[in-house]
Amino acid sequence: MSDYLLTLITFLPLVGSVAVLLLPKGADNAVRWTAAVFTGAALALSTWLYFVGFDDGATGMQFVEQRSWIPAFNIEYFLGVDGISLPLIWLSALIHFVAVFASWGIRKSVKGYFALLLLLEVGVNGVFCALDFFLFYVFWEIMLLPMYFLIGIWGGPRREYAAIKFFLYTLAGSVLMLVAMVALYLMSGNYGDGATFNILTMHELAGQWVADQGTFLGMRFTTWIFWFLFVGFAVKIPVFPFHTWLPDAHVEAPTPISVILAGILLKLGSYGMLRINFPLAPDAFAQAADFLAILGTINIVYGAYVAMGQTDFKRVVAYSSVSHMGYFLLGSAAWTIEGINGASLQLFTHGTSSAMLFLIVGVVYDRAHHRNLNDFGGLAQRMPFYLGLSTIGIFAGLGLPGMSGFISEALTLLGAYQVYPVLVIISTLGILMTAAFLLYALQRVFLGPLPEKYSGFQDINGREAFCMIPFAALCILVGVLPSLVLDKMALAIEALQNDLAPFFQAVAG
């Protein structure tokens, strides 16, 4: 089985998607359980992969599958997993599994909804597993469509606007990626055994094309490759100033889709940077690092600052995502071992805490049918269990020591301080503001007198608790035992850091 493990993890949801479409009309519960079984199977397989199959002590790719796909362009079906992608694959499987249960209350076109949700998982898992750039791109785009429909059909009042904005932003980014991809393919033809889309081969060739690169439209080859790819991925993270689609998409998307969006889709851009953008244009990355660090700091501070001013609970959480993703950029721009470890861990911890926060918003929205923070209050009296879970999510989000967010942010800032002390000091402002707006939101929802109209609210039910508890557990577990994730990543990150470090020394020297 392990020969096809990654294929199974990627394409089991596709089988589920087809199965869902084949079920008769009106069999809504059968549809839901089918989706749960297939996402559950993918989760079980990736859990096995994470804890049993994956060898922490081995360098390089594991569970590799490599077959020819489109021979005319030397395009391969090439999958593999290393320490950088492993936690994200598992996180993706978990989040999609939980999202199925969080979607239990969807009433509109149930079949279509779950078919698209499963298709989305195919795209996301595929991106994390693909080691052929062309394949990566195909999965990247496949993911775009289900998301567009899930927001556009099942979203809130301004769903069309939000869906099209999301689509066009991401697409504009991926077109740049496409051009860079073709250019890299042709460039790789000048070296070794002919042109290839193999990301690992390109990684090895990168040193050569840095050494003897030509120019295009007055810019060095790697410089424009870097910026094309960077914009393509930055839209997805999203990096300031490409972030404006995110709050709209989040506000209009149904709760489970927000969970997926914040929990895993935002990680794709950062993963793409670590896997493709930085290693394939290393000299341009080293030269741009200062600028990226500044962008990261802007994300942290600006995101938190804007979040403070929001009254829509979901917008608060959405902007907090913008702020949190800034740590990734700051940590990786510093390119120290601690920085990259922190940045990568941040992807995982933010995935759990933001998913949790969106579930928290979903619970009040389902009951009150609005998200206006100023209109809540006193819910602690009626919903004590919900208060407990929310507190875990919010404290994990603001990085309280002992929670997962603390470890990743502390590591990131520690790593970045060695290179950018001033930016780190500025970005601590962001931490302060994050604490402020999250606690302020907590206070406005739970404390104070309970308005009469909310006195009938029930505490969260078993299904809602079932969705939130895994994330709550992860927030605490990774906070106490970060080695659960860090050990998996250590070797891959060290190798990557070593490969690119000379380019940073060249810039510094």
Binding site: A72, F73, V138, L145, I153, I164, V175
Partner: protein, 484 residues
């Protein structure tokens, strides 16, 4: 002196003989035992026979066929010339005619109690015969014959709903402008012959080195061809004709005519050199830009799809630009064009076919307001239309994406990175109106059902799966089709 027919002659003549035989059989049978079933049966038999006789060539990847010297096959003293890839495009044309026929079974066939049945079935065989000749033409005579043979049936078929203004307008407009284009074409041929003394594609090379007379002839020749392919500034008829014509016929025009005209243009393209790639790239960009600009404002889905067809034709010119910029790339450019035509063809067939089914549910209207929310009410037809639109837009996982990718890859390979970038941006722009179709189908609340309930059309609903499956299949497994 013409000798006996060689195996090569037979190979390329066989599909035409099948189609012609079908026409004769239908007309003869109609005189004695007029019945809808017989005519349709004979027409499908003839199309099937033509496809069957074309199949050996389409399958002959790399290996020469028995008794035939080398590929591409040259027949009738070089008047026809076809590669296996061309044969695949020929199969597409036959398939388009077959699908148009199936879609007509429950609609066009029954117009005015079936008075036009015979005309429909015979013309549906003549048009693909013309396409097959056009796409294999390598002599002025075959080029002109082919183009006229494919155009005349389409003029009539467009106007088949003769009680509807739009349909009559479409037929008349197509006919008048088409007659102009034919005039240009034949005048260009005359000047080229006068200037160079040749009637084969070599005339183009000779004309580029020759005098003003021959060069003017070349200009007229291309004007005629670009009209059929609907390249700006000769694209203005497309939206009206595609909208007015009955949708099954529109599907045939979109997939078949375009493919035939494009391959003819590729056969008659000038060799690399004096004309350069700039002219083609400019035409391509202008066509894309104009088509996009016009499509943004349309309310009728048929018009949007028609303009999308114009944009796709424009994109094909990028392949010609690549050919000009990198002379040695003939084989790979031709492969890219063949694949592109097949990818566009199946997507357009799926799109127009599904639109026809939805239109019937909306009382015969293709306006955005009439089709609101129908994708959710009719998941299969709506899903196929959505899939086809995604393929036309070029989303990975569909044939349309790989078609565009292969063309742009040729362009980048030929060194025209800037042009490729511009082309990709223009393609990106087109997403605006493709998305609009999806919004109309899925994100608007359904319009109240209007008009009489549509007839259940099982054959059409089943046949539509063929192009839909091909859209996905060619999108994930292009190797067999692309290597031709």
């Amino acid at each position: 002196m013409p000798g006996p027919l060689t195996p090569s002659d037979w190979l390329l003549a066989a599909p035409l003989l099948w189609l012609a035989g079908g026409v004769v059989a239908i007309l003869v049978l109609d005189a004695f035992r007029p019945a809808a079933r017989h005519e349709a049966g004979l027409a499908f038999l003839a199309l099937l026979g033509a496809a069957w006789s074309l199949w050996p060539l389409a399958e002959a990847a790399g290996e020469p066929l028995e008794g035939i010297p080398g590929l591409p096959v040259r027949a009738f003293s070089g008047m026809l010339e076809a590669s296996p890839g061309n044969a695949v495009v020929g199969l597409l044309c036959l398939g388009a005619a077959a699908l148009a026929g199936i879609l007509s079974l429950r609609s066009l066939c029954r117009l005015e109690s079936g008075r036009h049945r015979t005309a429909l079935w015979t013309l549906l065989l003549v048009a693909p015969a013309g396409m097959l000749v056009t796409l294999a033409s390598s002599h002025f005579a075959t080029l002109f014959l082919g183009i006229e043979t494919l155009s005349l049936p389409l003029y009539v078929l467009s106007a088949l709903r003769r009680t509807e203004e739009g349909s009559v307008e479409a037929g008349l407009k197509y006919f008048l402008l088409g007659a102009f284009a034919s005039g240009f074409l034949v005048f260009g041929m005359a000047l080229l012959y006068a200037g160079t003394g040749r009637m084969d594609p070599g005339a183009v090379t000779a004309a580029l080195e020759g005098g003003a007379l021959a060069r003017a002839g070349l200009g007229f020749l291309y004007a005629g061809l670009l009209f059929k392919l609907a390249i700006a500034p000769f694209h203005l008829w497309v939206a009206d004709v595609y909208q007015g014509a009955p949708t099954p016929i529109t599907a045939l025009m979109a997939a078949g005519t375009k493919a035939a005209a494009a391959l003819a243009l590729l056969h008659w393209a000038p060799p690399a050199g004096p004309l350069g790639s700039g002219a083609w790239a400019l035409l391509a960009c202008a066509t894309l830009a104009l088509a996009n600009l016009t499509a943004l404002n349309q309310e009728n889905l048929k018009r949007i799809l028609a303009l999308s067809g114009v944009a796709h034709a424009g994109l094909l010119l990028f392949a010609l630009a690549a050919l000009q910029a990198a002379p040695g790339s003939g084989a790979s450019v031709e492969a890219a064009v063949n694949f592109y035509l097949v990818a566009y063809g199946v997507s357009a067939l799926a799109a127009f076919g599904a639109l026809e089914l939805l239109e019937r549910r909306a009382g015969g209207h293709a306006e955005a307001s009439a089709l609101r929310g129908l994708g959710r009410r009719f998941p299969v037809a709506g899903g196929i239309l959505a899939l086809a639109v995604l393929s036309l837009a070029g989303i990975p996982g569909t044939a349309g994406f790989l078609g565009k990718y292969f063309v742009f890859a040729e362009l980048v390979r030929s060194g025209e990175v800037g042009v490729a970038l511009l082309g990709i941006l223009l393609t990106l722009w087109s997403f605006a109106y493709y998305l609009r179709i999806l919004v109309v189908l899925y994100m608007k609340d359904a319009a109240p059902a209007g008009g009489p309930p549509a007839v259940q059309d099982t054959p059409a609903a089943v046949a539509l799966w063929v192009p839909a499956v091909l859209v996905v299949l060619l999108g994930v497994w292009p190797a067999p089709a692309h290597l031709l």
